[in-house]
Amino acid sequence: MKNIHMQAILEMQGITKSFPGVKALDDVNLTVARGEIHALVGENGAGKSTLMKVLSGVYPHGSYDGDIVFEGKSVAFSGISDSERDGIIIIHQELALVPLLSIAENIFLGNEIAKGGIVDWPETNARTEELLKTVGLREKPVTRVDALGVGKQQLVEIAKALSKKVKLLILDEPTAALQENDSQKLLDLLLELKAEGISSVLISHKLNEVSRVADSITVLRDGKTVSTLDCHSQKISEERIIRDMVGRDMAHRYPERTPEIGETLLEVADWNVWHPLQTERQVIRDASFRVAAGEVVGIAGLMGSGRTELAMSLFGKSYGRNISGTVKLRGKEIDVSTVGRAVANGLAYVTEDRKALGLVLEEDVMRNTTLANLARVSRNGVIDNAEERQVAERYRKALGVRTPSVFQKVMNLSGGNQQKVVLSKWLFTEPDVLILDEPTRGIDVGAKFEIYTIINELAGQGKGVVMISSEMPELLGMCDRIYVMNEGAIAGELAGSEANQEKIMSMIVRS
């Protein structure tokens, strides 16, 4: 193991990068040994992405201070094409594939195998096939990318990187959108690539993955290198990493709560939903579940198991067709046939994708807060500005949204604060039951804790909370009861106290 640390493929020394008014990186050092998987962790805004942009030449040489030594040579990249030529390839969190083109076309986009401008398709497809075999993706080169799931698209991205003779692969949150098993596959692939001598930098929030594959870990906080940990010479605990990331001890990742569970609030029975376009496909089958006052109920399941579809079809029939079943609130059947009626009857749904479905990014915190309940701040259709502002301020304080003022556009807020604005919007409708779909996706550890605290407070106020999440530890840490969904049906139910990852997985696998 020692010899790994003998030669470094990459040394970034004393990197300092300033933006007007902010020092994004302050004397950061990062050394990646040849043939290792190096994890780069830190809260959102710690400077991970900025550091990678410096490395890949997005911020060209001269716009930062410090030295980059790659394969023993000092390098000065002035653009991505420079760094790619040397074999440094970044795979971004938001995939950069063209959905309407085939796998082969995407892999060789901008790098086509061509003579005199005419593409050699047989050669392209043959090479693609080889690359796909390497990454373990069983698809035809001519398959269109939009027909693939996110996990497979991720593999296409890696194949694309391999086609460019990659020496150092940088993955920015590669598993953020992936399901457990896809994530595992991806991590296995990283280990395989490592065996072939390809070094990689893995940026991730998921510490269990980091501990599984990383040879060493660099922790960034507020633009500075906090620590570089060698995973082989010592056992690194997750708590240790978290402490370095947030700069404080987080004894409990999930805030304490003593559940006070009251009467049953929401009861859904025999819920059936068909796919909006493929009419013969049933998406939700006879799903029944209930939530009581003061209870946090989790819905676990793989991606595509129908969790979001269940929630959206309940919420004003926002998904699917031929929806049937009954919804009762406090024992009385309620009408949820439009979003307006669902809201009026006490439901709220915080969407999975806050940017695309939850917020009007161009508008400010105040306008987003009041959007779902404008009637409360208006008289005869005329908005009372003073009242609206007071409402916005109240929720900003209550939820601790960090923003200079409620007139800040939400696009300028961090993910965690954006999520708090979405929560503000729904709390302002004063719902009885909140359905939260992936409420902590893509937000950092500190903000997650705050969101959990808010959820606990809501339960404490006697609201019913349904929490859909792909992160099992989160469900286990937060929920009083967990439903497990698989292929559109509720495969089982576990009390929070008896649930663990193995039981949930086995319910999914055995159903």
């Binding site: 695309a356 479905l357 508008e363 959007l371």
Partner: protein
Amino acid sequence: MTEVSARERETAAEGAVVSIGSHLKNHLRDYGMLLALVVIMAFFQVVTDGTLMRPVNLTNLILQNSYIVIMALGMLLVIVAGHIDLSVGSVVGFVGAVAAVLLVQYQLPTLVVIPACLILGILIGAAQGYWIAYWRIPSFIVTLAGMLVFRGLTLWVLQGQSVGPFPRGFQLLSTGFIPDAFGIGRPNVTAILLGAATAAILVYMAMRNRRRHMKYGIEDEPFSFFLAKNGLIAAAIVFLSYMLATYRGFPNVLITMAVLTAAYTFLTNSTTVGRRIYALGGNEKAAKLSGIPTERLTFLTFANMGMLAALAGLIFAARLNTATPKAGVAFELDVIAAVFIGGASMSGGVGKIVGAVVGAFIMGVMNNGMSILGIGIDYQQVIKGLVLLAAVIFDVYNKNKST
């Protein structure tokens, strides 16, 4: 946690603006187009040796641009909602033609024809809006079809001929003036009083607004700047009123235009409907999942556009005193250009009524000024096109700089 609140304070401090210069810089986008209008007017005032600001020409300027301004109000809502309406020029022609046939060939009274035509406009807008809102057919295509259909129908209704002249009552829609209440005539005292009253109301409202903002501590405009801005606007209104008064006073259509502008400003700034249109254009899915009836809102936006296009059609016909098959050709382009010059965003969710009106007058003043100078229609088009492009580039540049 203490670290966080320190950061918070820092950003809050950055938000407070001290000097006039930096305030202007921060609001370049808001004032830029108004400034551009003033500069363009000053430029043409000089190069036309003062012809631009002569009372008779100012009156003409208003008469010539009223229908563009009126349509720009509706088009702003359409564009903010994330759509476009290419049919308005043809609707102007069609409604004018129908009005002409009803008035001249069927001899129907003006007071029947005007509401009938406005309802016709609403129906036209609704018919297009139906496909756009409920069938999700792109507005570009639906209204492109509408543009062809209503141009064709215009020709059919008029049988390829011009129809006119109209009864006196109908002509007043465009060429009438508010009479002098005191019978003095020149200068028209009503006009001066109305102008002064408008200026006073605007200043009063600005002050009330500022007081309210101060109370909440969200006012970032330096007081001297506030004074200068409102003083200038009030002075400009009084001055223009006086100029108009020395000719024939306020044209009826100026009142129509002013009232509609005020009404739509109120609609967009202060009503739930207005707010929801912005949300719809900003993020339709989020708006829908917030319980906003997005389809109905889109539908109404187009019905409203139809009504305003019909009104513009009536005013245009009244002004020419004849309905011609060519009426309204290419108006949609001027209207759309006005809205974009005024700072609206092609992707929806952004734009202001005042901006659209200023944009319409920028186009109008350039048309008028270049015509006075005798610049050929060929160069006029080139120059207008470049101004549109420059305005949008300016907008995008500002936006990129601020993020």
